[in-house]
Every structure is written in structure tokens, then in C-alpha cells.
Symmetry: C2
Subunit: 146 residues, 2 copies
């Protein structure tokens, strides 16, 4: 087993599937240090009645809690969807080392709607983008049919 | 006692002072519905070791929890400082009715660093701005002296 970006993105996808199973918009995230997952999160905005409970917000808080420090400079976060302004802002404050995401979000992603990552943060996009995107498309299609 | 913007901003300032007393960057927030405060928050990023624990993030989560709904359309949030991109993003998702803030944040505020409020959100700024700003200036001046 090679612990590369695809491997860790698939772990984030597993988190997204957990969200899907709970009838939440399927977005997942994992935080990795030295090839080890130290935090996981999936969108729980409905269950928690809390618009701030995005996958990456929960994963950031969980990672900081695990490490006992606020800053995540040595961490990489894998997220199935491009972060929104809120989550990009949280990632900025965390000074996270690297952000890897799958699908782009043309509408609510931070590239379109504003916000920025920390200047030191390395950004990689498009890893397993189709799987990540299909999960979301299927979810919203089924919502419309209901 | 008149329950106007100055009154509620002073309540947010009381929250900021709580943060100050805990050696946190002094920012505070309250959420109001029908002239009643339903949620309070002050910055606790140091104590919680969590970059997402900004005053308004905590107040948004707390208000939604109190109301039992995710959306805060009928609420007004009073914040001592212009929200950052993260907090503006959270306020966007909450569809909050009105955002009132005190001091502007030329460096990390959402107007400069990106992000946006919901198009339906009414924005008011500059309420008790000097008091809000002085709290922050004093805090950072003392930090530099130490």
C-alpha cells in the first residue's frame, strides 16, 4: 500500500460517504502528519443544526486537539471539495502546511467567493475529483427527485 | 434603558473584556432576537487551542443551538471587530438578518481579505468603534512590552 495523495483522498471520500449515509451533503476531510491520519471529519451541519460544522472545520479542531497546538504547519488536509470562504479562513488561521482537495466548487468555493489560504500553504487540487464530484451530484439529484 | 445598537454593542464589549481577562485577543459577540440576547461568545482560541474559536463562530453555533434551527434570518449579531473571512463565511451560511460590528480590521477583516455576507444580510459598522478598537490596541501593546 502506497501512502500517497490518492490513498489519503480515498480516506476523505470514506468520510464523505459517512455524511451521505446520514443524509448530509457528502463532504469529507482527513488531516495527515507523517503519513498518519490524526483527524477525520465529515459534514454534519444538519445533524448538529450548525452551519459551521463543515468537514474541514471539524477536522481542523480535531487535529489541533490531537496535537495540543493551534497551528498545523506540519499537517496536510485532504478534503473532497474545494473549501468555502469559511473553511479557507479557518485553514488560513491554522497555517496548515498543505491543502489537497478533490472537486472544485465553482459556486461557493473560496477561489470564486473570496478568502485565501496562508501564503505558506501548498495547494494541490483535482485528486480523485470525479469520485468526489459524483458523490455530490448524486446527492443533489436524489434530493430533487424526492 | 433603550435597547438599541449601542446597548447591544456594549454587551458584545463585555464579552470582549472576558476574553481580555483570559489573555485572549479581546473580541466579543452577542446574538439578538426581538431585543433579547440569545447567545454570547468571546474569543477563546488560546484556551481551546483552536483557531476556529472566534467570538462570532461560538455565538453562531450557540444561537442555532438555542433556536433549534440552522438559519438565523431573524437575528442580529453584534461583534466588536469586523469579521475575518472565516467568520464572514459562517455568517453567510447562517443567513443572519443583520451584522453590526464596531472596529474595522484593515488587515484580516473580510472586506480586505475576501469573503462575503449573505446578500440579504444588512450590515452596520462603526458602533462604539473606538472602545472596541482601543481594547485591541491596548492588548497588543501590552503583549509587545512583555
Amino acid at each position: 500500500m502506497e501512502y500517497n495523495d490518492v490513498y489519503f483522498m480515498r480516506q476523505a471520500i470514506r468520510e464523505a460517504i459517512k455524511a451521505l449515509e446520514e443524509d448530509e451533503v457528502p463532504v469529507g476531510a482527513v488531516v495527515v502528519v507523517n503519513k498518519q491520519i490524526i483527524a477525520r471529519g465529515h459534514n454534519t451541519t444538519e445533524r448538529l443544526n450548525d452551519v459551521t460544522a463543515h468537514a474541514e472545520m471539524l477536522a481542523i479542531t480535531s487535529a489541533a486537539n490531537y496535537l495540543g497546538v493551534k497551528y498545523l504547519n506540519d499537517c496536510t488536509i485532504y478534503i473532497t471539495l474545494e473549501p468555502c470562504s469559511m473553511c479557507a479562513g479557518a485553514l488560513f488561521w491554522s497555517q496548515i502546511g498543505r491543502v489537497v482537495y478533490g472537486a472544485s466548487d465553482e459556486k461557493r468555493g473560496f477561489i470564486k467567493s473570496g478568502g485565501e489560504l496562508h501564503p505558506k500553504t501548498i495547494k494541490t487540487m483535482g485528486i480523485e475529483a470525479e469520485v468526489c464530484s459524483d458523490l455530490l451530484k448524486d446527492f443533489f439529484r436524489k434530493k430533487r427527485i424526492r
